[in-house]
């Protein structure tokens, strides 16, 4: 007996069944949404909730991310870095990687600066920025001899310093915001509106960019490209 049509029918029913359910009525959350909108004064309510209404939570998240990147540094501090890292060599691929790095860098800046206006925010911007730096890291080996170890160490120390300063600034600004010190609101929907939210987004983007880049970079240096 051929059961194939029955199997196909079963799959179709299972996949399509959720579509038969009605969506929840949109009107029930209206009061909550307008309350949030007046409270945060930004069009992107998600950003508003993350960086104003629930700022305590986000503060702890940033600290958790910092601890994670510290953890990677500590875990690998005992090991020897690889003497040679295989990078990309193909010139055509290098050109495309650099183009990708430019575009992801622009996306990162857009997500950070306009995270309060449209979907985006510091974490997403940081991931995009980290991708840009990661692409440049892949490209670097194809562009000539690597810099001296002393230079690498100095630039790593500088990166770590900027990262720490970004975290400290984030915590300081977050406390100002939690204490109720506010910047002028600006006009609703403009880049320069939203009070502390823009600044917090940018600081978070810097932190996550450098943190994720540091982690990726360390794993590549100690464990090699997968």
């Amino acid at each position: 007996m051929n059961l194939r049509p029955l199997q196909v029918l079963a799959v179709v029913v299972v996949v399509l069944a959720p579509l038969a359910q009605a969506l929840p009525a949109p009107a029930t959350n209206g009061a909550l949404i307008s309350a949030l909108s007046t409270q945060t004064q930004v069009p992107n309510l998600v950003s508003g909730v993350i960086l104003k209404t629930r700022l305590f939570d986000t503060l702890a998240e940033v600290v958790v991310f910092t601890l994670a990147s510290k953890g990677v540094v500590w875990m690998l501090s005992d090991e020897q870095p690889r003497p040679v890292i295989q990078g990309l060599q193909d010139p055509a691929v290098l050109v495309l990687c650099r183009l990708g790095a430019t575009v992801t860098a622009m996306v990162a800046i857009e997500l950070a600066l306009r995270g309060h206006l449209s979907p985006g925010g510091g974490f997403a911007a940081g991931v995009s920025g980290g991708t840009a730096l990661g692409l440049l890291l892949l490209v670097r080996a194809g562009l000539g001899p690597l810099p001296a170890p002393a230079d690498t160490q100095r630039s790593q120390a500088r990166t770590a310093l900027i990262e720490k300063l970004a975290v400290l600034a984030f915590i300081a600004v977050a406390f100002l915001s939690l204490e109720g010190v506010n910047l002028p609101d600006g006009s609703f929907g403009a880049v320069e509106s939203g009070g502390w939210i823009v600044i917090l987004n940018v600081l978070m983007a810097i932190k996550v960019t450098l943190g994720s880049w540091t982690m990726v970079q360390l794993f590549i240096r100690y464990r090699g490209l997968l």
Binding site: P91, V93, L96, T102, V103, L113
Partner: protein, 142 residues
């Protein structure tokens, strides 16, 4: 004085194109033409590091742009060929390129090859500056 005279205005064309490209990406991302946003975009475009400056091979660029424009109707023809079911044969071709002279030129060449559905650029041989291209050729008849 000699140093100042050696800087030709053509050398500025490369950075100018780069900055214009970044600004265009910024405007496409933000969809906001107000002065504040344009200023931010221009600042970002200027602050991102610029590549080492080389003179653009203008003549070759013009040829590459022409080849790219010619590839568009070709791409539609090949897409129509792909829609009709017919046997195809795979192959590996070597297309001569202009080498590492300019990133923009290399991008245009790779884009031209990859735009047509029946050919895709796999990479570049470092030595002889050819692109390795994977091709599909429709087989006539059976």
């Amino acid at each position: 004085m000699i140093g100042a005279a050696a800087i030709s205005p053509w050398l500025l064309l490369g950075p100018l194109l780069t900055v214009a490209f970044r600004l265009a990406v910024w405007l496409l991302l933000t969809n906001d033409l107000r002065a504040v946003n344009m200023g931010v975009g221009l600042g970002v475009a200027l602050l991102l590091p610029l590549q080492r400056n080389r003179r653009l091979p203008l003549r070759q660029l013009a040829l590459a742009v022409r080849a790219m424009l010619a590839a568009f109707p070709q791409a539609f023809r090949e897409a129509a060929v792909l829609i009709t079911p017919r046997p195809t044969q795979e192959g590996l071709a070597h297309v001569p390129g202009s080498g590492r002279r300019s990133s923009l030129l290399m991008f245009l060449e790779v884009f031209t090859i990859t735009l047509t559905p029946l050919s895709i650029c796999l990479g570049m041989d470092r030595a002889d500056q050819n692109y390795r291209v994977h091709t599909l050729t429709p087989v006539q008849g059976r």
